[in-house]
Amino acid sequence: MNPRARLAGIRRVLRKEDVRSLSRRYFVANGFDGTLTSIGVVLGAYMGGGVEDGLMVIGIGLGAAIGLGTSGIWSVWEIERAETSREQASLESAMLTSLEDTQLTRDFRNEQIVLALAAATGPVISILVTLLPFLFEGVFLSMFQAVLLSIALGILLLATVGAYMGAISKQRWYVAAIRMGLAGFVVAIITIFLPG
């Protein structure tokens, strides 16, 4: 399939509410994982000692981003492939005909691409955001300030996503924001009091 047709297909599946809703869930769920992982990694690296500069923390964080991003894209691709294969087989049995190479199966593939990308970009973006302060470590932030700012950014990110989810579900956005942001605090406190 040529890139233009692929893009048109992706635009078409993005008009479906169920695809938008599912990609939102994957993005938020995996972004949540990414933010909490990043807070844990940043605090763990700082408190464990041996971290000399911000670039080292960024290196460790990027490792986590690659791991979670790959996990997101791979797992969702396989999950959605299995689900759409089952759906296609069930439809073919109801239609008494093959649906191979129809717009329906092309849409299934486009949905797989959209959902896998949503699952991968969630954690990668959230980790990159929380690592940003370490770019300025040694320039106008100390390591301690960079760690604090990174945790604050992580909590802010969680709270923003919480507020958004609260708004679209017609709940009190600030309650949803506090509930999501609290997870960042919990991870930070557990990491601080971890033995060693």
Partner: protein, 95 residues
């Protein structure tokens, strides 16, 4: 060969794409001037629709290929109008 002006097709299709994009995309076919789809029956996984397509010189092979590409399959051709103009069925007109 006489030009095909109107066909009425009995089509079985999955629920997706739903009847609106299904009909819109059939309208994009060359020589098609209008399409009307009417829901006939809904089952658990599929639905039957009656599709009326009008145009100046309809290409039935292209229409069938497009319906198949949209996941549908033509069960029967229920009505065809050919020639210079569309003659309404007098039995239907009087009924």
């Amino acid at each position: 060969m006489a030009k095909i002006r109107r066909v009425v097709l009995d089509v079985l299709k999955p629920h997706q794409p739903n009847i609106i994009p299904f009909t819109e995309q059939l309208t994009e076919q060359e020589a098609v001037t209008g399409v009307t789809s009417k829901l006939v029956e809904i089952e658990e996984k599929v639905r039957t629709i009656r599709v009326t397509i009008e145009g100046e010189d309809l290409d039935m092979d292209a229409i069938e290929a497009r319906i198949n590409d949209l996941g549908g399959s033509i069960h029967s051709v229920d009505e065809v109008s050919c020639g210079q103009e569309v003659i309404e069925d007098p039995w239907l007109a009087n009924g």
